[in-house]
Amino acid sequence: MAKGAVHITVDRCKGCAICVEFCPTHVLALSTAFNGKGYHPPHVVNAEKCSGCDLCGMYCPDFAIYGFKLGKQGVAQ
């Protein structure tokens, strides 16, 4: 069970990929899909590896992603 998860606000994203690069466990990749503004938002490719550390959230210049910890039952803490 993953220790954390991310929430992505797709329509805020500008596809800079900074979150993808600086996620320590390579949870994210840019999607091939477009958002409403024509950018490629990230999606989760390695959900099990997410620690909920929120580094992606700290780096994101667009407030479009953040990570959070999950408890034993997979419930947000």
Binding site: M58, D62, F63
Partner: protein, 288 residues
């Protein structure tokens, strides 16, 4: 799965997001660190005020949900001075860019540090005048190509930490947008420090600076900061000048205690004028 809210959302004017900053611009990252630092500080958000000048970074005032002022060009510090002297209970944060703070408003910056007024200055340094089209600024490193230095800049650049140290600031630090955790901690220290505090955040302007200098997009810029920065808290401040591709020395360079301007002023007038002088008094945050 919006199981918990984004911790910074409470401090954003959500209805104004997406913001106008370009893809990969570093300014938004600094706002993340700032919002988190305010949470860490435990300060009452109703007593935190953000004052910005003009420029891309000057837009911060319009995106944060604190009481905020978007002031005239270079004059964020004079507005902040009025605020802090009239209501010493406020934590007054000046959030602006290098051009606004150190060029157009350069004298205010120097003299506010000299007076050691208790304001917290966050200077997002993207090394150019961004909003107006990428012209050379006093902070542009030598040899950098800008829209007004198409053959490369030949002027020496302004070393902000050294300037602020010489002027008398109580706290001086520098980080980059790569150092998100250190930036958050420095902003917390800034919020807690009494006196004039100055944090320089070296931040990418991929649209105008990095692109013209062949340094890639926002992501490449943050990777560049990772590779080219060095943490050195006891650095000789002469070494902090930046060049285009050289080392960016980061750290906390100054942390000292000096008499604070507002307090000194109130005590001075109380001594000189006695009952004729009335310092601002507050009840429940309201001037009485």
């Amino acid at each position: 799965m919006a199981a918990v809210a984004n911790p910074v959302e409470q401090f954003l004017r959500s209805e104004r997001i997406p913001h106008i900053w370009c893809p990969g611009c570093g300014i938004g990252t600094t706002v993340n660190a700032f919002a988190r630092a305010v949470i860490d500080s435990g300060l009452d958000p109703l007593k935190v005020v953000v004052v910005s000048g003009i420029g891309c970074s000057g837009r911060v005032a319009g995106y944060v949900s604190f009481d905020s002022f978007h002031t005239t060009h270079g004059r964020a510090i004079p507005f902040a001075t009025g605020l802090k002297l009239a209501n010493p209970e406020l934590t007054v944060v000046v959030y602006s860019g290098d051009g606004d703070l150190s060029a157009i408003g350069g004298n205010h910056l120097i003299h506010s540090a000299r007076r050691n007024l208790d304001i917290k200055v966050i200077c997002v340094n993207n090394l150019v005048y961004a909003m107006t089209g990428g012209q050379s600024a006093p902070t542009t490193p030598e040899t950098a190509n800008t829209s007004t230095s198409p053959y490369g800049s030949f002027e020496p650049d302004l070393n902000l930490p050294k300037l602020l140290d010489a002027a008398g600031a109580s706290y001086v630090a520098r980080w980059t947008t790569y150092h998100v955790k250190q930036m958050e901690r420095a902003m917390l220290e800034l919020l807690r420090k009494k006196g004039f505090g100055f944090l320089e955040v070296v931040s990418q302007c991929p649209t105008l600076y990095q692109r013209r200098n062949g340094m890639g997009d926002g992501l490449e810029s943050v990777k560049f900061y990772k590779e080219h920065s060095k943490v050195k808290n006891d650095a000789c401040l002469d070494d902090l000048a930046m060049d285009k591709i050289g080392e960016i020395i980061c750290g906390r360079f100054v942390d000292r205690d000096r008499p604070e301007y507002g307090q000194t002023m109130r005590e001075f007038y109380q001594n000189k004028l006695g009952a004729k002088y009335r310092a601002p008094e507050f009840q429940d945050g309201v001037l009485v």
